[in-house]
């Protein structure tokens, strides 16, 4: 058979995939050579996971094809991918916590003793495990229950399991996210050793220093497209960072209210807030947001921004520190009390927290205001008044819907999010927590949501904007704070470029 892609062990040839209106991948081409470590980098939501799912056969592309050993193939799923030598280590480990590492190693493909009883041959299982661990230069205590093993050992066990099943191509999804620096070193040594033996590795990451240290080749995915691809020798960490955050020609300055129309007093303040020592999601965070101001919080996903939003909403406990709203201490208040005191919350997880998908449009629009007039009077809830109030709220924000009694899941992503804004803004909160407001929203919806936020600000509202889209943060924010590893690592100086912000996001944690 003629090889259309000579020398390519695994690749994507113009792969495209859309989920409804969201184009997750667009014409992605990416080639992995034999004995090569190829880093795929990009922000969360850029489309990396969709690409990996297609390379595993978990999703079928809308167009384009997956290349295996030089020729296009159609993979039916992870089982076939594995049979053909493609193994993936997921971010969340796929180990049974109560079984020993040895049991996990052979789970699903146990070596059997001869005879009709199909007894597991533990002696040969152990021999195999020890030999493989030796080969890649690690030491594994095979009898340790996997939940009790150190994280990097769990990860090594996953890799060894894939090797044992004959994987020659490894896909590692952010393998360093859970590791401490010395463990990262150990992992890299192992990966280099595998490369020397001829294995090919697709390494997903958004940590630039790791990519430059390990990869032979790097591809940057942004908004579903490969925007940059180069041999590591021909590029630099700065250049990669630039491509990750993108080219920002959009105006940074947003239309502002006339000076003097709003008295700039502090609406919300956090003083030295930390979450529990066990999670350490937030460390010593201090910030303040004033009336008539949007403060943007930039950072690589998973550096504590999500927890910060939940802490402010009252959904996540604080260990130490103080939170005030209009100079009143709200640290100990629960979420309901804070809502009453004037905090609105746009959840990052619209489908599961921002909305109740099976419930009606009317219910979703009015929940939270359902105990106050006009919806309720005393013990009574008035469904008609609820419908009327919902209609007014939705009309004010021009949400397009069929009937109020339709399930909210019938709306488009953009209209769903506008409904959430309608609900959260209607009680006139002083402070709005806005987390990933345009995730899964099409371009028109994005514009509408941005103008809603600006209006809120211009009418004297205070907002904290958390987003993985740096464009969005730069377009909307009056001030930008950068977060890394649970800390605020700094405020972006006026007039800083996206590249500079990108560097603070990515390097900040290491320098700080």
């Amino acid at each position: 058979m003629a090889e259309a892609f000579p020398g390519v062990v695994l690749g994507a040839d113009r792969l495209s995939k859309a989920y409804g209106p969201v184009q997750a991948n667009r014409d992605i081409s990416l080639l992995l050579g034999s004995g090569e470590i190829h880093a795929v980098v990009g922000e969360n939501g850029a489309g990396k996971s969709t690409l990996m799912r297609m390379l595993q056969g978990m999703e079928q592309p809308d167009s384009g094809s997956v290349i295996l050993d030089g020729a296009p193939v159609r993979l039916s799923g992870p089982a076939e991918a594995m049979a053909r030598g493609i193994g993936m280590v997921h971010q969340e480990f796929m180990l049974a916590p109560d079984l020993s590492l040895l049991q996990n190693l052979v789970l699903g493909a146990e070596p059997l003793k001869p005879g009709p009883l199909r007894r597991v041959d533990w002696v040969s299982a152990r021999r195999e495990g020890v030999a493989l661990a030796d080969r890649i230069g690690v030491v594994v205590d095979w009898d340790c229950p996997s939940a009790a093993a150190p994280v990097h050992i769990q990860q090594f066990t996953e890799i060894i399991r894939l090797l044992r099943r004959g994987a020659k191509i490894l896909i590692l999804d952010e393998p360093t996210a859970v590791l401490a620096p010395p463990q990262v070193e150990e992992l890299f040594t192992l990966l280099r050793r595998l490369r020397a033996e001829g294995a090919s590795i697709l390494f997903i990451s958004h940590k630039i220093p790791e990519v430059t240290a390990l990869a032979d080749r790097v591809s940057v995915i942004r908004r579903g497209q490969v925007v940059f691809s180069a041999a590591m020798a021909d590029t630099s960490g700065d250049e990669i960072a630039g491509h990750i955050v993108g080219d920002h020609s959009a105006p940074v300055a947003a239309p502002k209210p006339a000076p003097g129309s709003i008295t700039p007093h502090t609406v919300l303040a956090m003083e030295a807030v930390s979450t529990s020592a066990a999670t350490r999601a937030l460390r010593d965070v201090s910030l303040h947001v004033s009336a008539g101001e949007i403060v943007g919080l930039a950072g690589v996903a998973g550096n504590g921004q999500g927890e910060l939003a939940e802490v402010l909403a009252g959904l996540h406990r604080v260990n130490t520190g103080r939170i005030t709203l209009n100079d009143k201490d709200i640290t100990a208040q629960d979420n309901a009390t804070r809502r009453g005191a004037g905090i609105g919350y746009i959840s990052a997880d619209r489908r599961h927290e921002g909305l109740c998908l099976p419930a009606t449009i009317a219910t979703n629009t009015m929940t939270g205001s359902h105990r106050a007039p006009p919806v309720a009077s005393g013990w009574r809830l008035r469904p008609r008044a609820l419908a009327k109030a919902a209609e007014a709220r939705l009309q004010a924000l021009q949400v397009r819907y069929g009937r109020l009694s339709d399930p909210v899941s019938s709306l488009s992503g953009g209209n769903q999010q506008k409904l959430v804004f309608a609900r959260e803004i209607a009680p006139k909160p002083d402070f709005l927590i806005v987390s990933q407001p345009t995730r899964g929203v099409d371009l028109n919806g994005i514009a509408a949501i941005h103008s809603l936020l600006r209006d809120f600000r211009n009418q004297g509202g205070a907002a904290l904007l958390v987003s993985e889209e740096l464009d969005e943060i730069m377009a909307l924010s009056d001030r930008i704070l950068v977060m890394a590893e649970g800390r605020i690592v700094g405020e972006v100086p006026k007039g800083a470029s996206a590249q500079e912000i990108g560097r603070m996001m990515i390097m900040g944690g290491h320098h700080g």
Partner: protein, 348 residues
């Protein structure tokens, strides 16, 4: 718009009727297998349960406890709390009411009735508050805790009626009878249909109003659909869980009280032949909807009342009625999974 509504109605009628139809088919095959004519038997059963005023009364009488236990179950299921402990609250509440009914001074007269009902409601409420609190505070699985409490309820009532509450006039396993004044009025003597049926209808109606016209009912439905959303909206999920458990206990306790004061007048072994569990089937069958549950309760009431007389007139063993009941329950539970597969139906 009208046709869409009609479509929805037709769809819900079909999905409501389906378990009955399937169960009838399976029962028909069973009857054929033992050499009986299914149509004749079904006809006889219909005749026996609805053929005259007296028979209808006995069907409604059999449906009475189910009105309570179904509502008690639905109020929890609707909030995503899988309370299977209605049986236990029915027993303990029933015994509490009976105790007041015979131990309080007879001179209280008709005041005995509200007093005994109150005792049933309070004991039922406490009985189910406990697993509700365990669930809300400590995440103790409610299926396990309420199921275990059923065994405790059976053992506890069994002990009490053999010990401290044993009737001095009887050998064992029964309390003294309640005072005459504590008895609920019979609606259609000589049938056993009693005022408890009306109380059951009232409870069912109040439940329907609570669901639709109170903020608490609104919140309970949201908690059942999406706890994370509810929490983010400031709804107390734990508080709602405890509230629906307590309400469930109140309703189940009232059910036990009505059964005791209206039907049996005393508490003996076999006070409840599994009303809590049949009520669960009725709630599933009726989709927690008041009207659906009324129909379901009457249907199971009919099966029960026809079943006892049917073996007098045919060779059909009483067990067959139990089998039909079981089949309907299985298909009812199957049905509940269907709408979740289907998109497009809004619930609140």
């Amino acid at each position: 718009m009208a046709d869409v509504r009609f479509g929805k109605l037709a769809e819900s009628v079909v999905s409501l009727a389906l378990p009955f139809v399937v169960a009838a088919l399976v029962a028909g095959v069973l009857l054929l297998a033992i050499g009986e004519n299914p149509l004749a038997i079904f006809g006889l059963m219909a005749e026996e349960s609805f053929g005259s005023a007296r028979r209808i009364a006995s069907t409604l009488s059999a449906a009475t406890p189910l009105l309570f236990t179904a509502t008690a179950t639905a109020i929890c299921f609707r909030s995503g709390v899988f309370n299977v402990g209605v049986e236990g609250a029915f027993l303990t509440g029933g015994l509490a009411a009976i105790f007041v009914g015979y131990a309080a001074p007879a001179s209280l007269g008709v005041v005995l009735i509200p007093l005994a009902m109150l005792a049933g409601a309070v004991v039922g409420a406490i009985w189910l508050w406990f697993p509700g609190w365990l669930l809300a505070r400590w995440q103790v699985d409610e299926v396990v805790s309420t199921l275990m409490l059923n065994f405790i309820a059976a053992a506890l009532t069994g002990y009490l009626i053999n010990g401290p509450m044993l009737s001095p006039a009887s050998g064992n396993n029964v309390t003294p009878p309640i005072h005459d004044a504590a008895e609920l009025v019979r609606l259609m003597p000589p049938s056993t249909l009693h005022a408890g049926f009306l109380i059951g209808l009232l409870v069912l109606t109040l439940y329907g109003l609570w669901c639709r016209y109170t903020p608490a009912g609104f919140e309970a439905a949201l908690v059942g659909l999406n706890r994370r959303f509810s929490r983010a909206m400031g709804i107390s999920v734990g508080g709602t869980v405890i509230a629906v458990m307590v309400l469930s206990g109140v309703i189940a306790g009232l059910g036990g009280a009505s059964h005791g004061l209206g039907q049996l007048y005393r508490f003996s072994d076999g006070f409840s032949p599994g009303y809590g569990f049949t009520g669960m089937a009725v709630a599933l069958l009726g989709r927690n909807n008041p009207l659906g549950m009324l129909i379901g309760a009457v249907f199971f009431g009919a099966l029960a009342s026809a079943g006892t007389t049917i073996q007098l007139f045919s060779n059909i063993p009483l067990d067959l009625v139990d089998i039909i009941q079981g089949l309907v329950m299985i298909f009812a539970v199957m049905q509940i999974a269907l709408p979740r597969l289907r998109k497009g139906a809004a619930h609140v």
